[in-house]
């Protein structure tokens, strides 16, 4: 007999025992599945919320970005001198440097007149620095004075703008005490920092936010020559520019924004806590099942020990039971979670998706949960004392 086959004997015994009690097996699988779905949902929501919170930087189009080092999140930027953008053009690799202006202005509801702060995103329409879905056909209209595009995924408190627009063709609203025309719809998404967004040209941005110095900007998107290596250009720029800017790649910019929401808010903690609760409940269920299995079979286990089976063999059998339950619960749990992701994504517009790395993480957690339950239940095996058998 091969070593592998020998090592699998306790697992086979475990499987035969689990299989014999169908109801117990079903409730154990249901328990693992429950924990699995709970953890998947918690981690899914967590990642979806962070994704939507970083929707603005993710929509940016550029290889490198300049940011003031004191900027914690894009809804509250620290201005940086606009001249930094032009300084970067000194490097031959940089083909384009696009200043992006960010500010919040007060929006008046087109029907009720209630005011609410909305995020303004201003940039040169021709520069191709921003990649919002729906923007391209609006570029010419947005070059006209006092025009903006509205983010259809803003919170509903800003009014039924897309519906009004479809009905009337164009509507006038008041932003920062100035009447502007909404010429179209883009898709961006509300974040924790901004309930809604409007997109406008650099010139129109200055008309609305008059107190801003023209020499300042908030974010600079850099386009590089296609053959340039972003990492080496980043290193050159960091050496070249003074300490009032940081140079970030696109991934770093997104991470910068996410990091703020992960650390400055209890969101990360809440979902980690929810996942932990799910794992604890799952562990207790698996522990109960394994414990009951051992407790009802104590005389049989003691007999196996009397026959010369070692304590280690029986421990391996209990751990194998735990591993089997982890596997049998995870697979349907992951399928159910995929279905729920689709359902919730349709209902909430949150970007919920099953991906391999999260699947692996959850499998690891579930496996760990079951193993811990197995290790706890294993202590009961000590009660199987063959000396008490006679």
């Amino acid at each position: 007999m091969t070593a592998v086959a020998t090592a699998l004997l306790p697992a086979r015994l475990a499987w035969r025992q689990l299989r014999a009690e169908k109801t117990r097996l079903a409730s154990a699988i249901a328990g693992v599945m429950f924990a699995c779905v709970l953890v998947f949902m918690q981690l899914g929501f967590r990642s979806a919320l962070f994704d939507s919170a970083s929707a603005l930087p993710r929509a940016m189009h550029g290889e490198l970005f300049l940011l003031h080092p004191l900027t914690t999140a894009l809804f509250r930027p620290e201005p940086l001198p606009r001249v930094r953008a032009f300084q970067t053009l000194g490097l031959p690799e940089v083909t384009n440097a696009v200043p992006i202006y960010l500010a919040q202005g007060s929006w008046r509801h087109p029907l009720t007149g209630v005011r609410r702060a909305i995020q303004l995103v201003g940039f040169d329409m021709e520069a191709g620095a921003v990649n919002f879905p729906g923007l391209t056909p609006l570029i010419d209209a947005l070059k006209r004075p006092d025009t903006v595009a509205f983010d259809s995924r803003s919170r509903p408190e800003f009014g039924p703008v897309p519906a009004l627009l479809a009905e009337r063709g164009s509507i006038q609203v008041e932003i920062a005490n100035r009447t502007v025309e909404i010429v179209g719809i883009v898709e961006l998404g509300a974040s924790f920092g901004a309930d809604g967004n409007v997109v406008l040209s650099e010139v129109n941005f200055r008309r609305l936010i008059k107190e801003r110095k023209a020499s300042n900007t908030d974010l600079v998107a850099l386009r590089l020559r296609p053959d340039a290596d972003p990492a080496s250009v980043k290193a050159q720029l960091t050496a070249l520019l003074p300490a009032d800017v940081v140079v970030l790649t696109h991934a770093e910019l997104v991470q910068w924004e996410r990091h703020y929401w992960e650390t400055a808010t209890p969101i990360g903690f809440i979902f980690a806590f929810g996942s932990l609760m799910g794992l604890i409940v799952g562990m207790v269920i698996v522990y109960q099942i394994l414990f009951a299995d051992i407790a009802t079979h104590l005389p049989e286990y003691a007999t196996l020990k009397a026959m010369g089976y070692s304590g280690g063999y029986l421990n391996r059998m209990v751990l194998a039971s735990a591993a089997i339950l982890a596997l049998l619960g995870f697979v349907p749990g992951m399928l159910a979670s995929s279905g729920l992701y689709d359902l919730v994504a349709k209902a909430t517009l949150l970007p919920l998706r099953m991906d391999a790395s999260r699947g692996l993480l959850v499998f690891g957690l579930i496996f760990g949960m079951c193993s811990l339950a197995g290790l706890l239940a294993m202590r009961k095996l000590r009660d199987a004392d063959p000396a008490d058998m006679f």
Binding site: M1, A5, T6, L9, R16, Q17, R19, A20, E21, H297, P299, E300, A302, T303, L304, K305, A306, M307, G308, Y309, S310, P386, A387, M389, F390
Partner: protein
């Protein structure tokens, strides 16, 4: 040929200090190859404790206990586990695994032998079940067998690995008179045929005639030996 079991000056006590209660005192006994020895005596005479010590299920305290050539005084847990594999146990209750068939239960006694193949183990289990007259029940789970049939499966499990010694504790206690007699006679016949010695603890006077020797115990000592 060496005696499979040889005890000298065996002492054993439960509890400690003021609660210390000796159950075996200066006990000397041996079982010869192929011999069937019955151990009788009132409850509390120490015969079951003696059986657990010989079966390496309990750690020794004092004296000498040679079983199948192995001294158990001072033996480690691993050494005791190793010795148990060479002993066939039959308990008062069958203690079969309810989720395995009769054949699989018998094969469990062979799974510790890592050189055997699965087919080999199942074949030997089938042959053993045939020897105890249960060929037709090889694929039946214990829950669907009668008490006598289950105990016969337990006998098959104890004997299938050709142990050097068979230890049995009240194997007839849970059975009616006729079934009990049939089971112990079957066990005796199979053991004799293979030259395996049996040490059997019993209260049951009806099975004394299967023995080569009856040892009566009282207060942790051997009171009387009838050949």
């Amino acid at each position: 040929m060496e005696s499979p079991v040889r005890l000298r000056g065996l002492e054993y006590a439960f509890g400690e200090g003021a609660l210390r209660r000796p159950v075996l005192r200066d006990l000397t006994l041996s079982v010869e190859p192929g011999e069937v020895v019955l151990l009788t005596g009132p409850s509390g005479s120490g015969k079951t404790t003696l059986l657990t010590l010989i079966g390496a299920l309990r750690a020794m305290q004092q004296g000498s206990c040679m079983v199948l050539g192995k001294e158990l005084m001072g033996a480690t847990e691993a050494e005791r586990v190793g010795l148990r594999r060479r002993i066939g146990f039959i308990f008062q209750h069958h203690n079969l695994l309810g989720f395995l068939t009769a054949r699989q239960n018998v094969a469990m006694a062979l799974e510790l032998d890592t050189d055997s193949t699965e087919q080999d183990r199942l074949d030997r289990a089938s042959a053993m079940l045939e020897a105890v007259g249960l060929t037709d029940y090889a694929d039946t789970v214990p829950g669907k067998l009668s008490g006598g049939q289950r105990q016969r499966v337990a006998v098959a499990r104890a004997l299938v690995a050709h142990p050097g010694l068979i230890l049995a504790d009240e194997p007839t206690a849970a059975l009616d008179r006729q079934t009990g007699q049939d089971v112990v006679r079957l066990m005796r016949d199979l053991a004799k045929r293979n030259g395996m010695p049996i040490l059997l603890v019993t209260h049951d006077p009806r099975i004394l005639d299967i023995a080569d020797r009856v040892v009566a115990m009282e207060d942790g000592r051997i009171a009387e030996t009838v050949v």
